[in-house]
Symmetry: C2
DNA sequence: CTGAAAGCGCTAACAA
DNA sequence: TTGTTAGCGCTTTCAG
């Protein structure tokens, strides 16, 4: 029918006469016509929908994800794209992700995916992928990341600058995106300042507030009678909040007795005056959309530029020093 | 093809012989076959995708939405449904929302929609709708809400119980979902306790932290020389955070000089020890999915039960009193 | 048990 | 300027 042209297509508008055009439009209105996207997608091979896959731990709101997602929504919306969310329950399963590429999305963004063996996975054909803060670089897939190592280094130096020496790093899970980089930045700062290896304090932390609360309590119990660290550098903001709660409940004051730093500079950090390292998560979400659409368009025009040009895009980080960072305590504080 | 049956269809598995079945499966594997959802949806009229529409103010992370969305994701995922997010820039436009119902989703959830004239809008045919905290009841559409009026009443009573009398209500935008109910609950509590009308303090607030900061500063300036209220009851948590920042910056202490309450009991309230009223947002998100799918299934079986049975589902609220609520100040505190 | 054929709603190429 | 036709990838019905 000519109906297609007038109702949907951007086709040459001059093709149809005014008379029929009107006739069609009124008929459509009377019939309450709505174009069917599934049908259109079937032929045009374009859904105008982007996929986002994320590990979804339903127990706790994930600020990191939410902030990136906000950026994605913003950019996608501005370009007339929709966003559909796919969730993985516990761990990343590339096969399942590939199963999502069944014509309902034009491209996929993976948020902080963790894969052990980069060689075992391969970018699927036909559907472009982009990752944000991926644990490994995957052949053919562009990663968007930030300078986590140097951000961690920067905030550790801020602590050292103020005279802190006994700094405890509550490490994130070392197999998770970024945690290893944050640790590396911390260690580099400590070494630069000539802190002896045996003076460096590290313990297993977590990206979750609840879990950290548990782990940090244990650590304090295990170190009873020792001196409290001058400062604690946490895997992320949620972790820092957990530490803060434990410190408060044991009667220690932040920052008088101990300074505290988080990572990610989520809203949590701003509202609790927590020092943190800012990753421009929203901007990274924006960029993910921009890059992905570039690939989608290229793919559609038959130039699969997907596999080339996968140099990671790296955003800068900045430390935000707030009142949770003070000077070292004058008199020694003990763990009781 | 018989291929369809063995690869996709839940069709009778006995229909195809082992031999051909194997032959098809290996062929599919070699060809890297993936079923195309758009095509399948075209015939089955089922996308297994739910839509969520929300007003998206990109400037500030919306905790209310995020918590509901988390609930939606959780429930949808558990039922093999995907979720695609549609955003409205500034205000609700029902025509645009109807445009989203083009075969790409099976049903739609509207989060805190605001419509002036309920009569002017009509549930679209074919695509079931459910709203969460809608401003008005829309014929044919089920709303999921919570007892905001009584929650507000409850926390106001908690303040009055402790001896607070001069309570300021920072009202939310009265045209927005819930804000009017919160105000009504506050007023009912004040009247029940016999507070004279002219003693009741109310001023325009906002659901946004930034905007509240601005408005509250103005209010304080306008009331310089008067007594500071005993307590402030805010439109939501974000609003309360704004007030807290202003109070801190002016040298007032919470709760010694003034008690402070929020609404929604988001993570923000928990981490800042802010008293608040808990709406079970996550559960409400769950329920939205459950109800919506019920309607989708009914619709598919040709029993459009959408227009009947639209009694709203109302969740209970509970006040959470934390350290931001104290006793009234002993000596009068003045606004300076 | 298997193959052929029709059709979901749309677009695109071509013929009238 | 219009109408016709084929086909996107799939499911379903009906013959073989």
């Amino acid at each position: 029918m000519a109906a297609s042209v007038v109702l949907n297509g951007g086709g040459s508008s001059s093709r149809i006469s005014e008379a029929t055009r009107d006739r069609i439009i009124t008929a459509a209105k009377k019939l309450n016509y709505r174009p069917n996207l599934a049908a259109r997608a079937l032929v045009s091979r374009r859904m105008n929908t982007l996929g986002v896959t994320v590990i979804f731990d339903s127990s706790e709101l994930n600020f990191f994800f939410l902030e990136v997602f906000n950026g994605i929504l913003e950019a996608a919306n501005a370009r007339g794209q929709n966003t559909t969310v796919f969730t993985m329950a516990q761990q990343w399963d590339f096969d399942r992700i590939q199963g999502f590429c069944d014509g309902r999305i034009d491209g996929m963004i993976l948020i902080a995916p963790y894969f052990e063996a980069p060689s075992s996975i391969q970018a699927p054909l036909g559907t472009p992928f982009v990752t944000v803060n991926s644990s490994v670089s995957i052949p053919g897939i562009l990663d968007i990341m930030s300078e986590e190592e140097s951000g961690s280094h920067e905030i550790a130096c801020a602590l050292l600058d103020r005279g802190h020496r006994r700094i405890l790093h509550m490490m994130g899970p070392q197999n998770r995106s970024g945690a290893a980089q944050r640790r590396a930045g911390f260690l580099r700062a400590m070494r630069t300042w000539g802190i002896a290896n045996e003076e460096i304090l590290e313990t297993e932390g977590s990206f979750s507030t609840d879990h950290t609360r548990f782990l940090f309590n244990d650590w304090l119990d295990a170190n009873r009678g020792q001196r409290l660290p001058d400062a604690i550098l946490c895997a992320n903001d949620a972790c820092a909040i957990g530490c803060m709660e434990v410190l408060n409940s044991r009667g220690y004051r932040v920052p008088d007795d101990v300074s505290l730093c988080g990572f990610d500079d989520t809203l949590l950090a701003k509202t609790t005056a927590l020092s943190s390292v800012r990753q421009p998560l929203r901007e990274m979400g924006n960029e993910a959309v921009v890059q992905l659409l570039k690939r989608v368009d290229a793919e559609l025009q038959g130039q699969p530029m997907g596999t080339e040009n996968t140099e990671p895009i790296i955003f800068p980080t900045h430390s935000a020093v707030r009142s949770s960072m003070g000077m070292p305590a004058q008199a020694p504080v003990w763990i009781r």
